[in-house]
Protein backbone atom coordinates (compact mmCIF):
# COMPACT_ATOMS: atom_id res chain seq x y z
CA UNK A 1 0.00 0.00 0.00
CA UNK A 2 1.48 3.36 -0.95
CA UNK A 3 2.16 5.57 2.05
CA UNK A 4 0.23 8.83 2.30
CA UNK A 5 2.02 11.71 0.62
CA UNK A 6 3.34 14.36 3.03
CA UNK A 7 0.85 16.94 1.77
CA UNK A 8 -2.08 14.66 2.43
CA UNK A 9 -0.94 13.96 5.96
CA UNK A 10 -0.15 17.59 6.70
CA UNK A 11 -3.55 18.72 5.49
CA UNK A 12 -5.22 16.07 7.63
CA UNK A 13 -3.86 17.64 10.78
CA UNK A 14 -5.39 20.89 11.97
CA UNK A 15 -2.18 22.46 13.21
CA UNK A 16 -3.82 25.69 14.24
CA UNK A 17 -6.11 23.93 16.63
CA UNK A 18 -3.40 21.57 17.83
CA UNK A 19 -1.01 24.37 18.65
CA UNK A 20 -3.66 26.34 20.52
CA UNK A 21 -4.64 23.31 22.53
CA UNK A 22 -1.16 22.43 23.70
CA UNK A 23 0.88 25.63 23.54
CA UNK A 24 0.43 26.62 27.19
CA UNK A 25 1.46 23.22 28.54
CA UNK A 26 4.37 22.96 26.11
CA UNK A 27 5.70 26.33 27.10
CA UNK A 28 5.27 25.55 30.79
CA UNK A 29 7.13 22.29 30.33
CA UNK A 30 9.95 23.82 28.29
CA UNK A 31 10.34 26.56 30.89
CA UNK A 32 11.23 24.07 33.61
CA UNK A 33 14.24 22.92 31.59
CA UNK A 34 15.58 26.25 30.29
CA UNK A 35 16.51 29.57 31.79
CA UNK A 36 14.00 32.04 30.37
CA UNK A 37 10.57 32.50 28.82
CA UNK A 38 12.20 33.59 25.56
CA UNK A 39 14.24 30.40 25.29
CA UNK A 40 11.20 28.33 26.25
CA UNK A 41 9.30 29.91 23.34
CA UNK A 42 12.17 29.06 21.01
CA UNK A 43 12.14 25.46 22.19
CA UNK A 44 8.41 25.22 21.59
CA UNK A 45 8.79 26.75 18.13
CA UNK A 46 11.58 24.29 17.26
CA UNK A 47 9.35 21.50 18.52
CA UNK A 48 6.48 22.49 16.25
CA UNK A 49 8.78 22.77 13.26
CA UNK A 50 10.03 19.27 14.00
CA UNK A 51 6.46 18.01 14.40
CA UNK A 52 5.45 19.43 11.03
CA UNK A 53 8.60 18.07 9.40
CA UNK A 54 8.14 14.63 10.90
CA UNK A 55 4.37 14.18 10.80
CA UNK A 56 4.38 12.08 7.63
CA UNK A 57 6.72 9.62 9.33
CA UNK A 58 4.59 9.37 12.47
CA UNK A 59 3.52 5.76 12.61
CA UNK A 60 0.97 5.96 15.38
CA UNK A 61 2.71 3.54 17.73
CA UNK A 62 2.22 6.04 20.52
CA UNK A 63 -0.47 8.68 20.59
CA UNK A 64 0.16 11.83 18.58
CA UNK A 65 0.18 13.77 21.84
CA UNK A 66 2.82 11.54 23.43
CA UNK A 67 4.96 11.79 20.30
CA UNK A 68 4.72 15.59 20.26
CA UNK A 69 5.58 15.88 23.93
CA UNK A 70 8.54 13.54 23.69
CA UNK A 71 9.96 15.72 20.91
CA UNK A 72 9.43 18.70 23.19
CA UNK A 73 11.05 17.02 26.19
CA UNK A 74 14.10 16.02 24.17
CA UNK A 75 14.55 19.49 22.74
CA UNK A 76 14.03 21.17 26.09
CA UNK A 77 16.51 18.87 27.83
CA UNK A 78 19.11 19.37 25.10
CA UNK A 79 18.70 23.13 25.21
CA UNK A 80 18.78 23.12 29.00
CA UNK A 81 21.95 21.04 29.06
CA UNK A 82 23.56 23.47 26.59
CA UNK A 83 22.65 26.36 28.85
CA UNK A 84 24.21 24.44 31.73
CA UNK A 85 21.25 25.05 34.04
CA UNK A 86 21.99 24.98 37.75
CA UNK A 87 19.53 22.12 38.30
CA UNK A 88 21.18 19.02 36.84
CA UNK A 89 18.67 17.06 34.81
CA UNK A 90 19.57 13.90 36.70
CA UNK A 91 17.76 15.43 39.68
CA UNK A 92 14.47 15.03 37.88
CA UNK A 93 14.40 11.35 38.76
CA UNK A 94 15.51 11.69 42.38
CA UNK A 95 13.41 10.25 45.14
CA UNK A 96 10.99 12.69 46.78
CA UNK A 97 11.61 13.32 50.49
CA UNK A 98 9.05 11.88 52.87
CA UNK A 99 6.77 14.58 54.17
CA UNK A 100 3.02 15.09 54.43
CA UNK A 101 1.49 17.08 51.60
CA UNK A 102 -0.66 19.17 53.91
CA UNK A 103 0.20 21.03 57.12
CA UNK A 104 0.18 18.74 60.15
CA UNK A 105 -1.54 21.45 62.20
CA UNK A 106 -4.74 21.09 60.12
CA UNK A 107 -5.24 17.87 62.10
CA UNK A 108 -5.65 17.08 65.77
CA UNK A 109 -2.54 15.89 67.56
CA UNK A 110 -2.19 12.84 69.74
CA UNK A 111 -3.08 14.96 72.80
CA UNK A 112 -6.38 16.09 71.33
CA UNK A 113 -9.77 14.40 71.51
CA UNK A 114 -9.66 12.83 68.04
CA UNK A 115 -6.06 12.38 66.95
CA UNK A 116 -5.68 12.54 63.20
CA UNK A 117 -9.09 14.09 62.59
CA UNK A 118 -9.52 17.57 61.18
CA UNK A 119 -8.66 20.40 63.56
CA UNK A 120 -9.49 23.02 60.94
CA UNK A 121 -11.78 21.19 58.55
CA UNK A 122 -12.32 22.21 54.93
CA UNK A 123 -15.39 24.38 54.46
CA UNK A 124 -17.68 23.51 51.58
CA UNK A 125 -17.08 25.58 48.44
CA UNK A 126 -20.44 27.05 47.46
CA UNK A 127 -21.29 26.05 43.90
CA UNK A 128 -17.64 25.11 43.28
CA UNK A 129 -17.85 24.61 39.56
CA UNK A 130 -19.27 28.03 38.86
CA UNK A 131 -16.80 29.81 41.10
CA UNK A 132 -13.80 27.94 39.85
CA UNK A 133 -14.66 28.67 36.26
CA UNK A 134 -14.57 32.41 36.88
CA UNK A 135 -11.77 34.21 35.10
CA UNK A 136 -10.30 35.37 38.37
CA UNK A 137 -10.24 31.90 39.88
CA UNK A 138 -8.61 30.44 36.81
CA UNK A 139 -6.02 33.20 36.90
CA UNK A 140 -5.20 32.23 40.49
CA UNK A 141 -4.99 28.58 39.56
CA UNK A 142 -2.66 29.27 36.66
CA UNK A 143 -0.41 31.42 38.84
CA UNK A 144 -0.40 28.71 41.50
CA UNK A 145 0.50 26.07 38.92
CA UNK A 146 3.36 28.19 37.64
CA UNK A 147 4.55 28.62 41.23
CA UNK A 148 4.64 24.91 42.08
CA UNK A 149 8.03 23.27 42.55
CA UNK A 150 9.26 22.26 39.08
CA UNK A 151 8.68 18.54 39.25
CA UNK A 152 5.20 18.90 40.71
CA UNK A 153 4.44 21.49 38.03
CA UNK A 154 5.53 19.11 35.28
CA UNK A 155 3.53 16.16 36.53
CA UNK A 156 0.34 18.13 37.22
CA UNK A 157 0.58 19.81 33.81
CA UNK A 158 0.95 16.51 31.99
CA UNK A 159 -1.60 14.53 34.03
CA UNK A 160 -4.32 17.04 34.82
CA UNK A 161 -4.00 19.79 32.22
CA UNK A 162 -2.98 17.61 29.27
CA UNK A 163 -4.67 14.39 30.35
CA UNK A 164 -1.75 12.01 29.91
CA UNK A 165 -1.92 8.71 31.77
CA UNK A 166 0.47 7.80 34.58
CA UNK A 167 2.57 5.45 32.43
CA UNK A 168 3.04 8.03 29.71
CA UNK A 169 4.15 10.65 32.22
CA UNK A 170 6.63 8.23 33.79
CA UNK A 171 8.08 7.60 30.36
CA UNK A 172 8.16 11.24 29.26
CA UNK A 173 9.81 12.42 32.47
CA UNK A 174 11.77 9.25 33.33
CA UNK A 175 10.09 8.93 36.71
CA UNK A 176 9.28 5.88 38.79
CA UNK A 177 5.53 5.27 39.26
CA UNK A 178 5.93 6.01 42.94
CA UNK A 179 7.66 9.34 42.39
CA UNK A 180 5.14 10.31 39.74
CA UNK A 181 2.27 9.71 42.14
CA UNK A 182 3.94 11.54 45.02
CA UNK A 183 4.60 14.57 42.80
CA UNK A 184 1.03 14.53 41.48
CA UNK A 185 -0.29 14.23 45.02
CA UNK A 186 1.73 17.12 46.34
CA UNK A 187 0.96 19.35 43.39
CA UNK A 188 -2.76 18.75 43.59
CA UNK A 189 -2.77 19.21 47.37
CA UNK A 190 -1.07 22.58 47.06
CA UNK A 191 -3.33 23.72 44.26
CA UNK A 192 -6.42 22.78 46.23
CA UNK A 193 -5.05 24.81 49.13
CA UNK A 194 -4.58 27.82 46.85
CA UNK A 195 -8.14 27.56 45.64
CA UNK A 196 -9.34 27.13 49.22
CA UNK A 197 -7.67 30.42 50.15
CA UNK A 198 -9.22 32.10 47.10
CA UNK A 199 -12.72 30.71 47.70
CA UNK A 200 -12.62 31.67 51.37
CA UNK A 201 -11.49 35.17 50.41
CA UNK A 202 -8.23 34.96 52.31
Amino acid sequence: MPSASPTTTLRAVDFDRLIEQHYGSMKRMARTFVGSDAVAEEVVQDTWLAIVAGIDRFEGRSSLQTWMFSILTNKAKTRGARERRSTPLSCLGGREPDEPAIDADRFQSDDDAWPGHWATPPRPWQKPERRLLSLEARGHLKAALDALPERQRLVVTLRDVEGFGADEVCELLDLSPENQRVLLHRGRTRLRATLEAYVEGV
Binding site: L10, Q45, G116, H117, L132
Partner: protein
Protein backbone atom coordinates in the same frame (compact mmCIF):
# COMPACT_ATOMS: atom_id res chain seq x y z
CA UNK B 1 -4.95 -0.99 60.60
CA UNK B 2 -8.52 -0.88 61.81
CA UNK B 3 -9.39 2.72 61.06
CA UNK B 4 -8.11 5.58 59.00
CA UNK B 5 -8.14 9.17 60.22
CA UNK B 6 -8.80 12.35 58.25
CA UNK B 7 -5.07 12.93 58.15
CA UNK B 8 -4.58 9.47 56.60
CA UNK B 9 -7.32 10.08 54.07
CA UNK B 10 -5.82 13.34 52.86
CA UNK B 11 -2.61 11.49 52.04
CA UNK B 12 -4.52 8.71 50.27
CA UNK B 13 -6.73 10.76 47.96
CA UNK B 14 -4.41 10.47 44.97
CA UNK B 15 -4.07 6.67 44.93
CA UNK B 16 -7.80 6.52 45.73
CA UNK B 17 -8.66 8.52 42.62
CA UNK B 18 -6.31 6.30 40.58
CA UNK B 19 -7.99 3.11 41.85
CA UNK B 20 -4.63 2.11 43.26
CA UNK B 21 -5.60 1.29 46.84
CA UNK B 22 -5.62 -2.28 48.05
CA UNK B 23 -9.05 -3.53 49.02
CA UNK B 24 -8.72 -3.36 52.84
CA UNK B 25 -7.52 0.25 52.66
CA UNK B 26 -10.20 1.13 50.13
CA UNK B 27 -12.88 -0.31 52.43
CA UNK B 28 -11.59 1.68 55.39
CA UNK B 29 -11.41 4.86 53.33
CA UNK B 30 -14.96 4.46 52.07
CA UNK B 31 -16.19 3.73 55.58
CA UNK B 32 -14.56 6.92 56.71
CA UNK B 33 -16.26 8.89 53.93
CA UNK B 34 -19.62 7.58 55.08
CA UNK B 35 -19.02 9.07 58.50
CA UNK B 36 -17.04 12.23 57.76
CA UNK B 37 -18.62 15.06 55.81
CA UNK B 38 -15.46 17.09 56.04
CA UNK B 39 -13.47 14.51 54.17
CA UNK B 40 -16.24 14.19 51.63
CA UNK B 41 -15.87 17.94 51.06
CA UNK B 42 -12.10 17.63 50.84
CA UNK B 43 -12.34 14.90 48.23
CA UNK B 44 -14.83 16.94 46.20
CA UNK B 45 -12.51 19.91 46.37
CA UNK B 46 -9.62 17.84 45.02
CA UNK B 47 -11.90 16.70 42.20
CA UNK B 48 -12.94 20.29 41.52
CA UNK B 49 -9.29 21.32 41.40
CA UNK B 50 -8.52 18.61 38.87
CA UNK B 51 -11.58 19.66 36.87
CA UNK B 52 -10.44 23.28 36.83
CA UNK B 53 -6.98 22.19 35.66
CA UNK B 54 -8.45 20.15 32.83
CA UNK B 55 -10.29 23.22 31.54
CA UNK B 56 -7.44 25.68 31.97
CA UNK B 57 -7.82 28.43 29.37
CA UNK B 58 -5.44 28.21 26.42
CA UNK B 59 -2.43 30.47 26.38
CA UNK B 60 -2.21 32.76 23.35
CA UNK B 61 0.09 31.47 20.62
CA UNK B 62 2.75 34.01 19.61
CA UNK B 63 2.40 35.42 16.10
CA UNK B 64 6.01 34.50 15.39
CA UNK B 65 5.24 30.83 15.87
CA UNK B 66 2.15 30.96 13.68
CA UNK B 67 4.11 32.69 10.93
CA UNK B 68 7.01 30.23 11.10
CA UNK B 69 4.63 27.30 10.77
CA UNK B 70 2.51 28.94 8.09
CA UNK B 71 5.66 29.31 6.02
CA UNK B 72 6.63 25.67 6.37
CA UNK B 73 3.12 24.41 5.69
CA UNK B 74 2.88 26.59 2.57
CA UNK B 75 6.13 25.16 1.21
CA UNK B 76 5.00 21.60 1.82
CA UNK B 77 1.54 22.17 0.34
Amino acid sequence: MDEITCRDLVELVTPYLEDALDEPTLDLLEEHLVMCDWCVDYLEQIRATIGALSTMPAEPVPARLREALAGVLREAG
